[in-house]
Amino acid sequence: MRVAQARNFVVSDHPLPWLLPLVAILLVFTVYPLIYNIWLSFHEFVPRRRALEFVGTENWVQLWNDTRFWQSLVITFTYFAIALVFELVLGMAIALLLDSDGFGFGFLRGVLTMTLVIPPAIVGMMYLLMEDPQFGVISYLLQSIGLLNPNNPILATASTALAGVLVAEIWQWTPFMVLIFLAGLRALPPEPYEAAMIDGASSFQIFRRITLPMMSKVIAIAVLVRGIDLFRVFDYVFVMTSGGPGASTYSLSLYAWQQTFSFVKWGYGATLSLVTLVIILVIANLFIRIAKVRW
């Protein structure tokens, strides 16, 4: 009888057995780290005693007074905004260009997916070589048209280093936008366009009044998915600049990681990563509410 009951439970309509493995792994790997991070943010590793000690709110006070933190917050937001704008605008422009059944367009769309499968760390390395002041093909091009002073290497000059990293980022992820927007464009109904043509609307008017509004859901989802990753940027800056020169490319994730693993400031690193997490959760959930994105 008990066996039959147990059997019944396993195959029944109750969702628990189906969700259990997922819940277990999510609890262990996300909820536990979250609690551990909160606990850790009130402690700090003391090297001479080789132990964690309770420090109260010291890490949080330090965070508030830490100009490096505020600087990295600004850099992260700047990176996020510039990359998102470029990827959206370029992505939409290229998607409109490629939205055609002409010969070879399917092949071109396939080629664009290539950038998405390269590890970002390796993309960082690619651009490190291409932006090398002496042998890099991008540096050479910019120097020969007079846009770049040979004495100012792109990634070693504070004013251009972030742009140098952003080039890699935008190169790799614009195709992501292109593919998503293309799928959206191809699914649009033809009727509004026919009506607009008859009314003699210009192509800009058609884009502005018909394409953009009908694409709003697609754009919102693309912004959400990409935006989350942009805010956590780590790979490119780690590989290309390690945050430098000075602190001109320190992202929040990189700053948190370095505090923990390079400077053995476990408590402060946890505080920083908690702040990063909270900012992402708040912004992303606000965005989901406002843009009415649904899963």
């Binding site: 969702p15 493995p21 997922l22 790997f29 499968v117």
Partner: protein, 290 residues
């Protein structure tokens, strides 16, 4: 949209030029993999006119191109990366299997069963996708250290499976949502159990979706950097992490690194082409259907 012949021509040319610009870095990187050192360190950069060499691949993978065709000799040295490629393949494959198995079960329940809090549950799964890896990696590093999971396949497989679970769950749910639930209901009337329906009817119908989910999980594990960097130290390393070991005190071995990079793109690219039909749905975590 159609326009005259000349505007169509113009558009075709513009499209090829734009894609060529995006393809250029991949071409350039691949060309570096086939270059001798002095051709890499040339100013102006050599784009086409260089003598191709297979040395970089020989050093990195032990593959050489002789008169008798391609020969593979396991090499040694710091830059011999075949074992690292193997590590990456094992971790990506096993974490994909784990993530897809767990996600398929959960997604079926989320797609078919009505229970209280289902929407918030989906929201919770989605929000775990927003965790910055650094916020997970730091605590996990200490836990892994205690349990001896640093430098182990188990540790890496678990963390990469976790990383891919939100995507896999939402994606599989969207594929299950496409299969009409009347099929399940009629099978229940015939006396089939839930699990039987899941295994015999729904799973086979969602094959394409499972394949697409698996490919994306594989690629995200293959390209992941922060966890692999943090949770491995010496004996186990993935391809993205070792790319920085080519930077040495006597300069960077660009040719060797490019050989590794170029070769690592190929399998992932073939996989993604196989599931191109579902790619956009996958990239948007199941919310956009093509």
């Amino acid at each position: 949209m159609n326009g005259s012949f000349s505007t169509r021509m113009l558009r075709t040319i513009a499209a090829w030029v734009v894609v060529a610009v995006f393809f250029f870095p991949i071409y350039y990187w691949t060309s570096v993999a086939f270059k001798h050192g002095n051709d890499i360190f040339n100013r102006p950069p050599k784009l086409f006119a260089f003598t191709p060499t297979f040395d970089n691949f020989q050093k990195v993978f032990g593959i050489s191109l002789g008169s008798g065709g391609i020969t593979v000799t396991p090499g040694g040295g710091n830059f011999y990366m075949a074992p690292r490629v193997w590590d990456s393949i094992v971790i990506a494959t096993l974490s994909t299997v784990l993530a897809v198995a767990i996600a398929t079960l959960a997604a079926y329940a989320l797609s078919r069963m009505n229970f209280r809090g289902r929407h918030s549950f989906v929201g919770w799964v989605l929000s775990t996708r927003m965790m910055p890896p650094v916020a997970v990696a730091v605590p996990m590093f200490f836990i892994y250290k205690n349990f001896g999971l640093i430098d182990t396949y188990t540790g890496m497989v678990l963390i990469h499976a976790l990383m891919n679970l939100p995507l896999a769950v939402l994606l599989m749910k969207s594929f299950f949502d496409d299969i009409p639930s009347e099929i399940d209901e009629s099978a229940i009337v015939d006396g089939a159990s839930r699990f039987m329906i899941f295994r015999r009817i729904v799973l086979p119908m969602a094959k394409g979706g499972i394949a697409a989910t698996a490919v994306l999980c594989f690629i995200f594990s293959w390209t992941e950097f922060l966890f692999a960097l943090t949770l491995t130290t010496t004996s186990l390393k993935t391809v993205p992490v070792v790319s920085s070991t080519f930077v040495t005190s006597i300069g960077t071995a660009w040719g060797n690194m490019a050989a590794l990079g170029a070769a690592s793109i190929i399998p992932a690219f073939i996989f993604i082409l196989l599931v191109q039909k579902h790619l956009v749905r996958g990239l948007t975590m199941g919310s956009l259907k093509q």
